[in-house]
Structures are given as C-alpha cells and as structure tokens.
C-alpha cells in the first residue's frame, strides 16, 4: 500500500518535472519571439511621424510644438518623459506627458481640446496624432533613468491618491490593481504579471511604454494602458487625461524611479 503510494507520488513528481521543462522551453521560445520582434520595431515609424508633427506649424495659430514645455523648459525634450508626471506652475496641476501635450496643442497651436483628444487612440484606418507625438517624446528619454521623486506637495498628494487607487477594490468583481500586480511571480496565461509595488516590477512595466502592440498594430500610451486595465478589471473607465489616471502614473513612476527607460517598446 505504502510502496504503491510512493510509486504514484514518484510518477506524479516526474510528470510535474516534465511539465516544468516544457514550461521552460515554452518561455524560451516566447523570449526568442520577443527578441526577433524587437529588431525592427514598427514604433520607429510612429517616432518619425511624431517628430514631423512636433515640428510642423499646425492649428488655428499655425504654430509648431517646438516651444512646448514638457517640464524641462520650452522645447527641451531630452529626458522629459522620464520625469513625468510632474507639477507645472503655469497650470497649477500635476500633468503627465499626454495632458501636457494636449495643453500645448491647445495653448500654442489653438486647437480645441475636444478636437485633439477625439482620436486619442487609433483605430484601423483612423490614425492618432497623440500616439505618434507621445512615441516621439518618449523616445527622447530612451536610455535615461525614470526620475519621479514626487517631492512637490502636489506630486506627493497625487502619489498618495494613486497608491489608494492601486489598492482600492471596486467594480462588480471587487477587483483591485494589487490583486494581479501586488505579488511576485504571478502570471496570466503566458504573460508575466509584474509586482508594481516594487522598483523591479514597476520598472519593467513603466520603462517600456509607449509600446507598439502587435495585437492592434498600434502604439499604446500609458493613458491607454491604464484605462484599459480598468476596463479589464470591470471598473468604470476613467475619462482620458483624468486625474485618477495621472495619480496612478505618479505612484507607479515613483516606484519605478531609477529604472532605465527602454522606449519605444514592443509587446504582443
């Protein structure tokens, strides 16, 4: 009886070891897939397009965005993305790359906010200027360290609000961000789920956006990523550029600070 049980257990252990091996080779092949995609990221096409849009005189005021201040002074883009969101004295608000960009398109180029945000993400056949511009601005921080210490009282307050939202259970499934993203070594199907409460986990997540998503063949910005996370968690979707999304970004960027940006990224 006992010997038989041992035999069964031994077989079970072998089966488990076998499946762990299969799992390893699966992960190796997925890594190979990702590596092959990274060499020749279509995001580069959007970067080119974003650069042209940035420099072109457009809108009712026929102005370019070259005087736009993303936090480091007018027109200074190198490293700007890695230090956002931040507090802007001129608007007295904590702004992320997208809310600041829209602010510039409105104040410098004279566009109406509802016009420039109508196509804040692309659909097949309907391109998004915002996606291209954010890809260009993001790429100007490639290789730089994320640096969002959230020392300004308004930034610190937003980091707190973001942390609260991260742990807040809500929606019909009583779900929170932290259920999937608050522990190490979790997966959903083949996707690793980063622990966003740690520098390593938040770093991996935050350093690779904006990212080209092969599923849609489109660039995804951080606003789209977070708003879609909330949709997937069956939460009511926040409005584009809303403070709740910016607050979450401050919290996550603060956790990720010190991580080197690798942007634009490419994901499945």
């Amino acid at each position: 009886m006992r010997a038989r049980l041992q035999a069964v257990l031994a077989t079970a252990a072998l089966v488990l070891a076998g499946s762990a091996l299969a799992q390893d080779s699966t992960m190796d092949e997925i890594a190979k897939y990702r590596e092959m995609l990274a060499d020749g990221n279509p995001a580069e096409l959007f970067e080119l397009k974003g650069e042209a849009l940035w420099k072109k005189a457009r809108g009712p005021k026929n102005a370019s965005l070259e005087q736009c201040d993303m936090g480091l002074g007018p027109g200074k883009l190198d490293g700007a993305y890695a230090q956002l969101p931040r507090y802007f004295p001129d608007t007295r608000k904590v702004m992320d790359v997208e809310s600041r960009l829209v602010h510039c398109m409105v104040s410098l180029q004279g566009f109406k906010e509802e016009d420039v945000t109508r196509q804040w993400f692309s659909r097949p056949g309907k391109e998004s200027d915002i996606e291209a511009l954010v890809t260009y601005i993001g790429a100007k921080s490639n290789g730089m360290k994320i640096d969002v210490p959230a020392r300004h009282p308004e930034e610190a307050r937003m980091a707190k609000v973001g942390e609260y939202i991260f742990y807040r259970r809500s929606g019909p499934q009583d779900f929170s961000c932290s259920i999937c993203h608050g522990q190490n070594d979790k997966r959903i199907r083949l996707q690793d789920l980063g622990n966003l409460t740690t520098q390593a986990g938040a770093g991996v997540a935050m350093s690779t956006w904006p990212s080209y998503r092969v599923s849609q063949g489109a660039m995804w910005t951080m606003q789209r990523r977070l708003i879609d996370c909330m949709r997937q968690a069956r939460w009511p979707e926040p409005k584009y550029l809303s403070d709740s999304v910016i607050a979450l970004q401050v919290y996550l960027q603060k956790n990720a600070s010190g991580t080197v940006m690798q942007t634009p990224g490419i994901k499945r």
Binding site: D39, G40, P42, E44, L45, L48, K49, P124, G125, V214, G217
Partner: protein, 103 residues
Amino acid sequence: MADPMKIRASAKDGITEVKVLMSHEMETGQRKDSSGNLVPAHFITELSAEHNGKQVLAAQFGTAVSKNPYLAFKFKGGAKGDKLAVSWMDNKGEKRTDEVAIN
C-alpha cells in the same frame, strides 16, 4: 500620401544588410468593420530595392504580410555612402519610394 519608410542599410565585410519598415495597414479583405461590412483588401503587392540604381531585391506580398511590414535582406557589395532605395506599390496603386545612404 503614404508615410515614410524607415530604412537601415549597413555595410560590413563586403556585405550590406538592409532592414526596412513600411507604414501600411495591410488589410486582408476579410475583416469586418463595426457595422459588419467587410473592409476591402488594401495591401502592398510589390516591392523593389536598388543599390546605386541596380536592383538587389524584388518582392511580391500577399495579405498575410503583417501590418506595418518588416523586411530584412543582405547583398554582396555596397559601400558607405552608396544609395539604397526601396519602392513599394499597393493594390490601390499607391506608391512610395525612400532612399538612404548606406552606413
């Protein structure tokens, strides 16, 4: 007009390696839009690459080539500063040519 391509061409040890990204929807003709109508096929059909005016690759694509196509190939010869041009045409007759200097 179609958006520009991103072309990288680098010469090393007598071989030039070319990597091209093209901006194109590559619609299969099998996808339905939100109102249930088939979206007509729209895809690059032909591509040609020339080194200093001499063809180094010709390609024909079907609808199975991914959106925003990527293509990499290698040819013998090519020196830094030489011209490398890539042209494509799609099934609606739209065309695009871009040129870079080999580095």
